[in-house]
């Protein structure tokens, strides 16, 4: 099983092992960021920056067959880690699936208290942008 729900369950399981220890949680998130696939340097331009994030976040999409694929990067490791979680859940999926998704894992793992409210707003901005790209792709398909 590799649907959006089971990937979220996997993440919740991983974070539950870390427990309440904030230091290991943060280190873990940063390690996830380290494993993010490389982002093309030439795409690190103003147009690809997500507005509303404290850190710089670049996001682009491509398609493989009927799947939307996300590529992203950030100038901070913690944000890279957060993006990598979102990519793990949403990338390589059909636009419909992405648009219908309910990303409940964010609350379940207590992300708000881990990263604070400013970064939570940034995270929300990232999700919104990812869904907007999916919507754009869907509209193109239906056109």
């Amino acid at each position: 099983m590799n649907d959006i729900k089971s990937v979220q369950e996997e993440i919740i399981e991983e974070f539950s092992i870390l427990g309440d220890d904030k230091e290991s949680t943060i280190f873990y998130i940063m390690e996830l960021g380290d494993k993010l696939p490389p982002f093309p340097e030439e795409e690190k331009k103003e147009d690809n920056i997500i507005k509303g994030c404290q850190s710089k976040v670049w996001l682009i999409t491509k398609t493989e067959g009927d799947k939307v694929v996300y590529l992203a990067d950030s100038n901070t490791d913690i944000t890279k880690g957060l993006i990598s979680l979102l990519i793990r859940v949403l990338s390589y999926r059909k636009a419909d699936e992405i648009l219908d998704s309910d990303l409940y894992f964010i609350d379940k793992i207590g992300m708000g208290s881990i990263i604070g409210s400013q970064r939570s707003n940034g995270l929300a901005a990232m999700i919104k942008q990812m869904k907007l790209y999916a919507l754009a792709y869907q509209s193109k398909l239906n056109a």
Partner: protein, 409 residues
């Protein structure tokens, strides 16, 4: 190195906020340049004021008003002797450093700065000491000049000398850099400006909490600081000015307190300092600030500075051994502040990882973006020490920072 009478444990006892856990670890508070913690005496004074003395000042015909007025004016006297001002009328209460600078910009500036005049600041200023002058210059057609700094974070005094001319009307420079810890040679800056016929404003936001600042010895024309960085309450600051200047300057805001007589045909203004304190002032915080000044004086400025210097030296040496540790700002004369980067890591990440183990530092540009640009960086991590910090806390910082730095080094 026994320092007679200085007991940091005893001092820590007086700061309730320090005794708590953050993320499961004892809080290590190293963000003192942003704001210092408050001793219990200050907190209790606020409580006491509201429970027993609360009243409006300077006008009430009753016991509480008289008491509140006395306490309020007592703090003014204490501030005056704290700065060694010639008289307490030269002490004006403001909201903080920022308001003090804006007050001078919109009163002194309005009256004495004209088209073609020049104002000199430095490359290490806080935004509070940049933006008000940019606004004034734009309004008046005056020019803002900037004293450059070295890679170590020291003012280049020869360049300053070259900037001074008969066009220079004001020099406004910080005493101690909040981002680098550099202590600027204020006496020379002031005497050189005076020789050119310019007035000088000292941004003492980061100096009054660390060493004795004597406005007469400095011979500065204006000096501003914030109570909250000096163990006092937030929302309160002080502007000191030379009497003849304060008397010549127009009022800042209009309202109650600042008037002598109001008539629809015209209004006459109150004497200094009241001319600059329109409206009901921040009575409670002014009264409580007295206790912060008492705290500093019981500890003793020399002991306080010696302790902080010991911490700064210890931290600079110890953290300097961490692979990937890059200090930012290496001036010969520094106080309290250790700004740094960890090679390959963003300051936000470092700050976040330190916070995860209960260590509070500041990360970012420290309201000094032009300074960050000078160093070609986005920001730094800043640890800043106060009288209640300990070497053990620096050891805790060292251990965490070593682990963090290993990620990339």
């Amino acid at each position: 190195m026994a320092k007679t009478g200085f007991d940091v444990d005893d001092i820590r006892e007086r700061f309730p906020v320090l005794h708590q856990e953050v993320n499961g670890r004892p809080l290590v508070y190293l963000d003192n340049a942003a704001t210092s913690q408050k001793p219990l005496s200050v907190i209790e004074a606020l409580n006491h004021y509201y429970t027993t003395d609360n009243s409006n000042i300077h006008r009430g015909a009753h016991a509480l008003a008289a008491r509140a007025t006395d306490y309020y004016e007592n703090t003014r006297k204490s501030v005056s002797s704290f700065l060694n001002a010639p008289s307490e009328e030269q002490i004006i209460f403001t909201k903080g450093t920022t308001e003090g600078i804006n007050l001078v910009a919109s009163t002194f500036g309005r009256k004495f700065i004209h088209e073609g005049d020049e104002i000199i600041i430095s490359a290490m200023e806080h935004h509070s000491n940049i933006v008000p002058w940019q606004m004034l210059c734009a309004e008046k057609g005056a020019t803002l000049k900037v004293i450059p700094i070295t890679d170590d974070g020291e003012l280049i005094m020869e360049e300053y000398e070259k900037l001074l001319s008969s066009k220079t009307k004001l020099v406004s420079v910080l005493h101690v850099s909040n981002a680098l810890g550099t202590v600027n040679p204020m006496e020379s800056i002031i005497s050189m400006a005076h020789r050119a016929g310019a007035k000088v404003l000292v941004d003492a936001a980061q100096s009054t909490s660390h060493f004795t600042v004597d406005v007469q010895a400095l011979d500065c024309d204006f000096l501003v600081f914030s109570a909250h960085k000096l163990y006092g309450p937030t929302g309160l600051g002080v502007l000191y000015g030379k009497r003849e200047l304060l008397e010549e300057m127009p009022p800042y805001q209009g309202g109650g307190e600042m008037i002598k007589e109001v008539d629809f045909s015209g209004t006459t203004y109150n004497e200094i300092p009241f001319k600059f304190e329109a409206g009901t002032p921040n009575i409670a915080d002014v009264i409580a600030f007295q206790k912060a000044l008492e705290f500093v004086s019981t500890v003793g400025k020399e002991q306080l500075l010696a302790h902080e210097n010991e911490l700064l030296t210890y931290a600079t040496e110890k953290l300097g051994t961490i692979k990937g540790f890059i200090p930012v700002g290496k001036a010969k004369h520094k106080v309290s502040v250790l700004s740094f980067l960890i090679n390959g890591m963003h300051p936000f990440d470092v700050g976040m990882m330190l916070d995860a183990v209960g260590i509070a530092v500041r990360t970012g540009h420290h309201c000094a973006q032009p300074l960050m640009k000078r160093f070609n960086i986005e920001g730094t991590v800043r640890a800043s020490f106060a009288v209640y910090n300990t070497k053990q806390e620096i050891d805790v910082l060292y251990v965490s920072l070593s682990r963090i730095a290993k990620r990339k080094n």
